[in-house]
């Protein structure tokens, strides 16, 4: 089979899985829907490997294969195929998306067992993966937008999965609305591209772009900025990031799926995919890079202050996506995508470990309550620490190689990019601190009540409450069940965590400077036309950067150890001392309040004004005046209608008499 056939199969399996679980759930007992869904994604992963193997048979310059199922629209000058583009970038994304998603599906089979919406969950989950695969395999901007919008819908469905929970449905709406803002940018960018180049097809656009646009021409900068708007909304970059922390309202595997492999990486993919345009618009690329830098610093500071376990990891995702955006914007495509891959491993792992801890805490997510699980949950604790090490870029782990490759590239570009490199090093310190804020809080310290119970073999099964508001919930309708499942007792949860832990530890070995360059040489097929792809920091510089990065990581972990293990009172004392700073960070830099004041309140005030002035005074006034005029005239005329038959007769007689007299007078 050719690579494109495998590409179609990659799309077919998750769609089929979604349909089977959606329509056949009545006939599928117990966990079988979960196994079917997991199998579908597993088959998609196998098909991705097939595409990879086939692609490697082609020479490097012939690794961009297209295939079209049918012409979706064909008119004068307009030609849209339902077509896919299978190239190294798409195949790499397929492998990451389907591989990590398959593990998350497997984990969910156990984690979601006692949930009432088990089959519904897996149907949504499969549809989400299908949408994401459609997004990365699309061969033109129209199909990309289709996949993009599907992902937006699927995220809405999954974030609001516990539909009776008000906070969850609101979070889903928030994610959907902000994603639609990004969709508008993407659609406008596609329109502009069509106006300038007359085609939506990737390869034709990229071939024609260098001839049609001069570097930094206004229109190409506009196109790139509009593409960025779409990318920022999906990837939760400033200022369109507020949906991501709220998306934690979904079940924990959904958080892992959205944050690790799918959805948030779509923006990174879009910029990497559209790299010929961004290289023609260095201004837009620099703006994107600095937005990425601002986001990574912002999110890292917030992650130091928030207390919700899942929200800390959510802010960490924003921060790491910021690194990727910086990477692909400055031209470090393979480094950015390398970080995307390693991040998928350790972030999925962190969420799975967090899910296990939250289950052991009976849905409590407050890190001030969680402590000392090292003896109660040795497996989860070990893998949580592995994930935190990779996130903190501890020397030798996967995050160590990928993050520092981006920074080394930024240093090599020089000029303004040095600022980016310095900012990313600052972010790296903060990353190490908050990564081990999670790690030490959960693992170290005196065991909390739940941890002690678990050491005695008793898993708390509390009545379900909303962790955000503390309201109690009815587990029979769209809420999580009262049963919880932890990795220590579920082999089905341990397998994906162990595999991801392996990836998080050793995934970096495919790209060691001067030793291996698997991704670099594989992705060359997609980026051979790029002028920036050939820039590589020298091996010595790269190792210098790695040494510095490793040092920074260890310093950060040491600070975290000092604050949260060695001197356990330091944290609250610092928060007390710098109360205003702490409040500022704890309230996420007041972004929600800012948007509230900038958009929500003015809109509501406009609505009130329209209701109280325009509607009540102007519109009602006009209507009532018209009614008054008619009524007044009527009351005058009404006087003639006495109801006396004889009066009518008199009127008739006098009228005719008058008429007769008139004619008499006129005729003589």
């Amino acid at each position: 089979m050719s690579a494109t056939t495998y590409g179609w199969l990659v799309l077919a399996f998750p769609l089929a899985g979604s349909m089977i679980t959606a329509f056949g759930w009545r006939a599928l007992p117990g966990r079988s829907t979960g196994w079917i869904a997991t199998g579908a994604i597993g088959l998609a992963f196998c098909a991705s490997i097939g595409a990879l193997v086939d692609l490697l048979d082609h020479p490097v310059e012939e690794r961009q294969l297209t295939s079209s199922l049918y012409d979706y629209a064909s008119a004068s000058g307009l030609d849209i195929d339902l077509g896919i583009l299978v190239d190294p970038l798409a195949v790499l994304m397929c492998l990451i998306v389907s591989g990590v998603s398959a593990l998350i599906h497997l984990y969910s089979v156990a984690y979601m067992t006692s949930d009432q919406g088990f089959a519904r969950f897996f149907s949504y989950l499969n549809f989400f993966v299908f949408s994401m695969l459609l997004l990365v395999l699309a061969g033109n901007y129209v199909l990309l937008i289709v996949g993009w919008a599907f992902v937006g819908f699927a995220s809405y469905a999954l974030i609001s999965f516990w539909y009776r929970r008000t906070t969850a449905t609101q979070a889903g709406m928030k994610a959907f609305v902000i994603n639609v803002i990004g969709d508008i940018g993407l659609v406008l960018a596609a329109f502009l591209l069509f106006r300038e180049l007359g085609t939506f097809d990737y390869l034709e656009v990229f071939d024609g772009a260098s001839a049609a646009f001069s570097p930094d021409e206004g229109v190409v900068v506009a196109i790139c900025l509009l593409l960025c708007l779409g990318a920022f909304a999906k990837s939760a970059q400033l200022p369109l990031h507020t949906w991501l922390p709220d998306a934690m309202e979904g079940p924990t595997p959904v958080s892992a799926l959205i944050h690790a492999a799918t959805m948030v990486t779509a923006g990174v993919y879009l910029i990497a995919r559209s790299h010929p345009l961004f290289e023609l618009a260095p201004t837009a690329a620099d703006i994107a890079a600095f937005v990425g830098l601002a986001t990574l610093l912002f999110a890292a500071t917030v992650a130091l202050a928030v207390v919700d376990l899942k929200r800390i990891i959510a802010y960490s995702t924003m921060s790491q996506i910021g690194y990727m955006i910086v990477g692909v914007s400055i031209g470090a495509y393979s480094a950015g995508l390398f970080h995307l891959m390693t991040h998928a491993f350790f972030k999925a792992l962190l969420f799975m470990a967090a899910g296990s801890v939250i289950a052991a805490m009976a849905n409590v997510q407050d890190t001030n309550r969680i402590s000392g699980f090292r003896r109660a949950m040795p497996f989860t604790s070990a893998l949580l620490i592995v994930g935190a090490l990779a996130l903190a870029a501890f020397p030798g782990t996967s995050g160590f190689f990928s993050k520092d490759e981006i920074i080394a590239y930024a240093v090599e570009r020089g000029g303004i990019h040095i600022v980016l490199a310095v900012g990313m090093y600052v972010g790296a310190v903060l990353t190490a601190i908050y990564a081990f804020r999670i790690g030490f809080r959960v693992v170290a310290g005196p065991p909390c009540e739940e941890a002690r119970e678990l050491e005695w073999g008793r898993l708390p099964h509390a009545e379900p409450v909303n962790p955000a508001t503390g309201e109690s919930e009815d587990a029979d309708v769209g809420f999580p069940g009262s049963e919880h499942h932890i990795a220590e007792r579920e082999p089905v949860m341990r397998v994906p965590m162990a595999l991801l832990g392996f990836g998080a530890l050793f995934g970096g070995l495919i790209q060691i400077p001067g030793v291996t360059h698997v991704l670099d040489s594989f992705l060359e097929g997609s980026f051979e036309d790029s002028a920036l792809y050939g820039i590589h920091p020298s091996t010595g510089d790269a190792w210098l950067g790695l040494a510095f990065g490793g040092l920074i990581s260890i310093v950060g972990i040491a600070i975290a150890y000092y604050v949260w293990v060695a001197r356990r009172g330091v944290g609250p004392r610092l928060a007390e001392r710098f109360r205003h700073l702490h409040d500022f960070l704890f309230n996420k830099w007041y972004f929600d309040e800012l948007f509230d004041a900038l958009f929500y309140r003015p809109l509501i005030a406009t609505g009130r004004f329209a209701n109280s002035v325009v509607e009540r005074v102007v519109v009602d006034g006009l209507v009532e005046t018209a009614v008054g005029v008619v009524r007044g005239f009527g009351s005058i005329v009404r006087g003639a209608q006495t109801g006396f038959v004889r009066a009518y007769a008199l009127l008739l007689v006098t009228g005719f008499a008058a008429l007769g007299l008139y004619f008499l007078v006129v005729s003589t």
Partner: protein, 99 residues
Amino acid sequence: MDVTWYLVLSALLFAIGAGGVLIRRSPLVILLCLELMLNAGNLALIAFARAHGNEEGQVFALVVMVVAACEVVVGLGLIVAMFRRRLPLNVDDMRELRG
């Protein structure tokens, strides 16, 4: 032939009928007065037909008689219905169409 006296009689009858319609309250009398007015009109028609030697006026008078007969049927039917419902036989009390 001189039609003057015929017309005077016709006008007199019409005036009596109209006066009756205007001043009487009993629907039955009003109906009678209406007949009187119609027949005053008939008298004028026939007188003119005779004077001009043209029989079309007489035909027209016959048509008026048919109409008058129909009108009496409807009018009497209404009065009988009022009587059956024990409504007062007084047109001044029937004021439901007052504006």
